[in-house]
Point group: D2
Chain length 221, copies 4
């Protein structure tokens, strides 16, 4: 099932999504056996590999601009004997353009282009499709939340996950921290299919109005 | 898949294992389609229900001493149209005695009897069986870790999980904390089957010695 | 010293800065005996009161737009027999305009006007003055960080603080979470006094350039 | 005031109490200008140095069994030009025996001997004296809580502190975790002076009874 141990992956110096974050990310992604999945900013490919083990009759596209990391994904896919992973050594979102429509998009890294990636996913994601994003910086998290607030046909949920692992030291167990990650999950509900077009028209006309309303609404800080 | 929304369960005033903790607990439990699972201290039954949705050809025994909570589990099982859950309104570990051998034990509540529960699970768990325990107090966590240190044929891992949910307040998202939970996961490796008997003999003879060694080993605090 | 117990303050339904957050906020504020301090978005006044107990020969201005909360601050100040607190029932930042220059600004609430508040503090804060801000939302934190990145004469540091209190339940202690808070601390170093004027000129001319450089720098996400 | 930056201390490879933990520990210790303070398991001496800066007319005894660490404390004390720190390169609790009575005991490291240290502090601490302990392992925390539960004349409070520091990466700020620490704070209230003797007599007679009551009380796990 979910949750391959971290040490089962070849990592090199490429940062890796830790096991607990992977589990929660994949649970939110709700990948089906036949799903077509993109893993954007795939890093070592740990998420791609777990996704490919679920989508056994589907396909996972691992997108990674760093060529050293792209090689690692290939090696990891081989070690897990997976033939349903395609590694794309290119930059998102351009490379997403010519792909079939996605059931699921996992976003582990954005290269500072979160809005562009979300704009593209908005075009290539199927209805009922899920987007699950991981963030380690305040800025990318903020920009993602802002995008979803401006695209109100999407519903989103977000959590911060902080894991401390108990390190076994003989008679003692020491709490050791893993860097926290924010997971943002969004999906486009069926009931909103008609609304999407309207919402987009509305957005073009009324973006100024929306901001004004938010400013008046006040803040809890 | 994993991770039913918290509000899908009828809760009353019974404390419930929150979604993210459930996901990580069940990922560690690695439940199979045909597995026989016990959920000890089942509370609202949220873990039992997710387990039963995985073990579709297996069986889940939800053990809960509180009769109000036991009723809730029944209602929740009905709402999810599950026929592979049996609710046992009794106290663990006695009621575990006459059950078939378990593939998986989930322990959400111990009623202060963690050592007795682990002693019983040691007898009724299959080889390669998994135990996944959730703790909200320092004391029960400590006693559990101590038990596993004294039963060295088991390998255990433990993490503390702290989740902050982003509460949507119009233009703002506020970080709101959920109480942290420790998840301890253990399994009996196949390779240790022969060692188990030896380890038990050793324990009887040498328990004094073991404690002495630990005291000499020093502490990281 | 620092760290009055939470229950020593009259709270009503007004949210209060919790003891541990107060301690860390005040430690970063480094208030002196003669300091002139503003507490913006003072809430129940818990920070104002601790500040006034340190600045015994100074003065604390507690600014709070909510009149119910403003009354609470008055009551709390009376209960602690403090005569060096002035409550201003008005909205920041306008009310800061006619005050003497500040040694320290504590910002507990911004009413969604963080940039305006920082712009005003930039005018009314003494050289070497400290600003310590608390945030409970992603958006206000982001806007604050952005402001400091755009005003590079300020050095800032930021931490997220998550406190779990052990609730005593007889033989057990249960970990209970308090909502996490981000604390941002900034000060204007003496060595930058000359640079400030230059930096401001630079900002006017080169704001486009600065943004461009940041965009090229890439992102760790 | 409180909260010297971590990099101001010479550390070598000795683990150091991080700034935020130091601030909260010292706030709870409530050290006075004339106080006599022991810092047990002083490590790099960061807590001793901050304590000595407060107890300007008092004295701080830094106890550290590791001679490399003891040397570091000396160097750090010199760097801060402090003459009110005495470094004792010996093991607690034996070395506490011949000291004058303590106003405050800070316990950063216990070498696995937490109960013995608390037993000794029980003898050498002044009435109204404070004990503030830091724990990084579940086991030492548990043993400390157990000791205080068995010595009911002491009141204790405990928190877990988890700090994430925002690491500045140009246009981004990345949340980086520091290992969590439990802080336990206890003091002997004046009103309990008479009760102490009674409590001790009671303990000798009734320790079996006390355990029995706790076992019956049940558990929240």
């Amino acid at each position: 099932m979910l949750g391959i141990d971290d040490e089962k992956f070849i990592r090199g110096k490429v940062p890796m999504t830790k096991r607990e974050i992977r589990i929660l990310t994949l649970a939110n992604a709700n990948i089906g056996v036949h799903d077509f999945v993109a893993d954007i900013g795939a890093g070592t490919g740990s998420l791609s590999i777990e996704a490919a083990l679920i989508a056994t009759h589907g396909q996972v596209i691992a997108i990674e601009r760093n060529s050293v990391a792209a090689d690692l994904i290939m090696q990891n896919a081989e070690n897990f004997s997976l033939s349903n992973i395609t590694v794309v050594n290119a930059e998102a979102p351009e490379c997403l353009k010519n792909l079939p429509r996605l059931d699921v998009a996992l976003v582990g890294g954005t290269g500072g282009r979160i809005e562009e990636i979300l704009n593209m996913l908005d075009l290539v994601l199927k209805v009922e499709g899920r987007i699950v994003l991981n963030f380690i910086t305040v800025q990318s998290l903020y920009k993602c939340l802002t995008w979803f607030k401006e695209h109100s046909n999407y519903r989103y949920e977000a959590v911060q996950v902080q894991i401390n692992r108990l390190k076994n030291l003989g008679a003692y167990d020491m709490e050791t921290a893993i860097n926290p990650v924010h997971i943002v999950t969004a999906s486009m509900p069926v009931s909103n299919v008609v609304n999407i077009a309207e919402a987009k028209i509305l957005k073009i006309q009324a973006s100024g109005k929306v901001e004004q309303r938010e400013a008046l609404a006040g803040s809890p800080d």
